[in-house]
Amino acid sequence: MIKRKLVLSFPENIVTKPITYKLVKEFNLEFNILRAEITPNMEGKMLIELRGDKAQIDQSIEYLTDTGVSVQEAAKDIIIDRNQCVDCGVCTSICITQALILDSKSFKLKFNKDKCILCELCLDCCPVSAIKVYI
């Protein structure tokens, strides 16, 4: 019995399919959805913890990938280095859960940790390397 924390990205065309249900039925996995976000006309993202047999977890990841879901290992924490950040906001276009947004009045960067699903898409988009990950 092992545990793995993953970030799943569902493209628009499969957002409505009951994919997570198959994880239980076909692969006998226990799962815990830690965070999920589905935006109309856009992608769906899910931070999920899987528990089960190692071989079956590996098979389930293969199944997910074949279905069109992109699978990533989840990081522990994302930190914004305010001394480096210049508040350009380029990271906000990458952040599908809108954990990173610009304040509607000041246009300064705001990071809402509770919304972050640790997908790490933002890491290599910051031109001044102000976004860091703790693993």
Binding site: T39, N41, L102, C125, P127, V128
Partner: protein
């Protein structure tokens, strides 16, 4: 008022016909007198919007003397001229590296130009010319390595030493193209992530990035270049610099809206200023992953409120400025367009492309630009920054050529 959907040439012709507009309500000299006696009224380019809405154009033209505009964004066409001073025995440097970043040495013996986008020969995209410039501004030591073929007057063939901002003679930024008048929006229709100078673009229209200070931007507040010209004193990376020429790719002929603003990259400025007086707060090296190194430049330009016509331009707001969305996955000079959007829509965080919502991101920092507009405002109010009339105007007409592959006979 002669504002209408007209080209810059038509605008100048009408300006000449309308002599009454040429009788300025206020001269630069009068404004400078007010700065001297601390009576000058300065607003930033954001504040003027509501001011005009409340009090009207006439009153604004009478009561406001200066509007400060600004921008803070990556500007690749930037770099610095440096003179190191002569070693003993002297050297005519032919190849030069600063912290392993090549600098151009094909000028006099110890003069070089270090370009912002030049990459490190040892660290690749993690370090480059922009970082060398930033390290010099920060006062950090920089390793200088140079080689030469040796001459009778310059016998030395190599040198390795350390320099700082304070050990070198002159160091000034001379940026051939900065403060672009508007820019495109970039998106990606392909099925893979692409890495561009407009940032990381996710597949299937996953996001769209834009890059302009919009309503704060200098050339969008003076769209026909009535006050900004060659010789204009500016806030440049924290120092007082100057517009030295019109920028490379200066393209004033771009299609314009009725308010005079172009719907894409049009005019640009070549800027000059003393690196030794610059501040790391208003100049910052950066790397666009898988693209390369460039530099965030902070620029502020004061616009004198010379007449009511100028107020009409200065009251421009994000919702009035449009730009075009292009597909950067098409690796050609001409990219497919997905229509126009304004900066209010872009700043809302999402726009619609082909009926689908797409998240937007800015590459230019609005808060940092606003900060610069306020710093410049304070400097003018405190008598530390005086306005200049331009020595010569920016050209209202300029050819915008592409590079074709031709034989000598086909030229």
């Amino acid at each position: 008022m002669i504002i209408g959907k007209i080209s810059i040439l038509e605008y100048y012709n009408l300006l000449n016909l309308n002599q009454d507009l040429n009788i300025m309500a206020k001269t630069i000299e009068e404004i400078n007198e007010k700065i001297k006696s601390r009576k000058v009224v300065v607003l930033n380019a954001e504040e003027i919007i509501d001011y005009v809405k409340e009090k009207g154009t006439k009153k604004a033209a009478k009561e406001v003397d200066v509007v400060t505009t600004a921008t803070f964004g990556p500007m690749c066409s930037s770099g610095a001229f440096i003179n190191f001073g002569h070693p003993d025995p002297p050297i005519k440097m032919t190849k030069v590296w600063l912290n392993d970043v090549p600098a151009y040495a094909g000028i006099a013996a110890v003069d070089v130009y270090i370009g912002a986008t030049e990459l490190s020969e040892t660290e690749g995209m993690n370090y480059g010319g922009a970082y060398v410039i930033e390290d010099l501004v920060l006062g950090k030591p920089v390793k200088l390595r140079a080689t030469s073929y040796g001459t009778d007057c310059y016998p030395r063939r190599e040198i390795e030493t350390y320099i700082t901002r304070d050990t070198i003679n002159q160091a000034y930024l001379f940026n051939p193209r900065n403060a672009y008048q508007n820019y495109a929006v970039a998106t990606n229709s392909s099925n893979r992530t692409i890495y561009t100078y407009m940032g990381k673009l996710l597949p299937n229209f996953g996001n769209a990035n834009y890059c302009s200070a919009g309503q704060l931007s200098p050339l969008l507040n003076d769209p026909y270049y009535r006050t900004i010209g060659i010789g204009t004193r500016i806030f440049f990376g924290g120092s007082q610099g100057y517009v030295s020429w019109y920028g490379t790719q200066h393209n004033p002929g771009k299609e314009r809206l009725a308010n005079g603003t172009p719907c894409g990259p049009a005019g640009s400025l070549a800027l000059i200023g003393n690196l030794k007086e610059m501040s790391p707060q208003y100049l910052k090296a950066c790397t666009f992953h898988n693209y390369g190194v460039t530099i965030f430049m902070g620029i502020g330009i004061p616009i004198p409120v010379i007449d009511e016509e100028m107020v009409e331009f200065l009251k421009i707001k994000d919702g009035d400025i449009y730009t075009e969305i292009f597909d950067y996955s098409v690796q050609r000079r001409n990219k497919p367009s997905y229509g126009k959007v304004n900066y209010k829509q872009l700043r809302s965080g999402k726009i619609k492309i082909n009926g689908k919502f797409v998240q937007t991101g800015s590459i230019s920092s609005y808060p940092r630009a606003l900060e610069i507009s306020n710093v410049l405002k304070k400097e003018i109010e405190n008598g530390k920054f005086y306005l200049t009339a331009s020595v010569a105007p920016l050209p209202p007409e300029e050819k915008y050529s592409s590079l074709d592959i031709l034989s000598k006979e086909e030229l």
